[in-house]
């Protein structure tokens, strides 16, 4: 067997992926050829070093991230990219933004189909979203809002329905389709603290709210 042929087979020889015939040919050649034996040694060293790389464990929060996304139904039509610029920018800030609905402006407008509650969403950098609320809303409710994907996203509450006085909510985003992502805002109003979680795809997947008293 020629050296060049043997050297092409060395990796498969080390991996025990050769036929018995080829295996014995390579073995015989290695016993008599120092050059090929050196290639064998260094190739085996590569395999050994890779096999002994320190094992890694995934971050403990990995499943939570998966769960948050798979429970955000219905699924977003366009497949998400896992990579890209938005990602790395998103990482630069905390993953939670807090919205504090101003108590002073909360009125008693329960069951009004379109409520005068508009939040301007102010992106501080690419990640930190600050929701400055103006307007009025019910003491407790669930609303659907739409985030338009333009340069300065506006979050406008489109409807609000009365809901049982929630002391803590955890809701997931749904997609309205048509290129905009929607949110369900929960339990905002007097003394409520609502948290928005931005997910890596730049839209909101989970909003957890709690009462601040």
């Amino acid at each position: 067997m020629m050296c060049s042929m043997v050297q092409r087979l060395i990796s498969a020889y080390i991996d025990r992926e050769l036929s018995e015939d080829d295996r014995s040919r390579v073995r015989r050649h290695l016993a008599s050829c120092s050059e090929c034996y050196a290639v064998y040694q260094s190739t085996a060293a590569v395999k050994s070093a890779l096999a002994s790389m320190t094992p890694v464990e995934c971050p403990p929060c990995l499943w939570e991230g998966v769960e948050a996304r798979i429970s955000a139904a219905p699924l977003k039509a366009a497949p998400a990219r896992y990579g890209g610029e938005r990602f790395s920018l998103l990482r630069s800030a905390a993953s939670f933004v807090k919205i504090v609905a101003p108590a002073a402006v909360v009125g008693a407008l329960i069951a009004v189909p379109v409520v005068q509650l508009a939040f301007g969403i102010d992106l501080i950098g690419p990640m930190g979203a600050r929701l400055a609320g103006t307007g009025a809303g019910s003491n407790s409710g669930v609303g659907v809002a739409t985030v338009q994907a333009d340069e300065t996203p506006r979050l406008t509450l489109q409807s609000i329905v009365p809901a049982p006085a929630a002391r803590a909510v955890s809701l997931t985003a749904a997609s309205l389709g048509g290129g905009s992502d929607s949110l369900i805002l929960g339990a905002f109003g007097d003394n409520h603290l609502v948290q928005l979680q931005l997910d890596p795809e730049d839209y909101f997947t989970r909003i957890g709210g709690s009462v601040r008293d």
């Binding site: 991996d15 590569v46 096999a51 890694v56 995934c58 896992y82 990579g83």
Partner: protein, 201 residues
């Protein structure tokens, strides 16, 4: 009144979710490990892992029970990563790091760049073979890198790798051969002792 069909569907959905969660928990370390070795970056590895599981969840109905879940999963990871690499190639980021930044008044500002030859990470890597290995892995074309990772780190056979990478055994053999050859060239000075260990076994 809730129909029986609805109850059955709900129960099925619940058991599907529970089954999926247990599979994620079982394989998350190995998927993350492959992702980390492929990307070399913990954040990107986490994104890739999560995205792979989300894709797997969406396609979970098409996954045939009784077949190997891990191979199916690694195939998703492989495809996702290779697609992403291709996508980045199409839209390369071309700004030069040592190019001065233009200012409003037409002037320029020099960027302050760390000296990579003396950065703490570099010093650290020089003394740690894992860092060297990771760097060398990242220098391989993605197809070679994945084949080598699946073979040497995850311990799959050529046939299994061919299934995961949706290619022939001959192609796997060639990718591993060429991948290891490139790694050998880069790592030769650091590997003599480890190689001897293998041979002595």
């Amino acid at each position: 009144m809730v129909s029986q069909q609805t109850l059955v569907s709900s129960a099925q959905a619940l058991s599907k979710d529970a089954e999926f969660e247990s599979l994620v928990r079982r394989y998350q370390n190995s998927v993350y490990s492959i992702a980390l070795r492929m990307t070399g970056n913990p954040y990107e590895a986490q994104d890739l892992t999560q995205e792979a599981f989300v894709r797997a969840y969406r396609a979970f109905d098409s996954y045939r029970r009784g077949t190997s879940f891990d191979k199916w999963l690694y195939r998703i990871v492989t495809n996702l990563y290779i697609d992403e690499v291709r996508r980045r190639k199409r839209t390369p980021y071309t700004e030069s790091l040592d190019q001065p930044i233009g200012t409003h008044d037409g002037g320029t500002i020099e960027r302050e760049l760390p000296d990579s030859s003396t950065s703490p990470e570099e010093v650290f890597d020089r003394t740690h073979l894992d860092g060297r290995l990771q760097q060398a892995l990242e220098s391989l074309p993605p197809d070679f890198r994945m084949a080598v990772i699946l073979c040497d780190i995850e311990g799959f056979s050529y046939e299994e790798i061919a299934q995961i990478m949706n290619t022939s055994i001959g192609t796997v053999r060639s990718r591993i051969h060429r991948g290891r050859r490139a790694l050998r060239d880069k790592l030769a000075p650091y590997l003599t002792e480890r190689g001897q260990e293998v041979i002595d076994r």
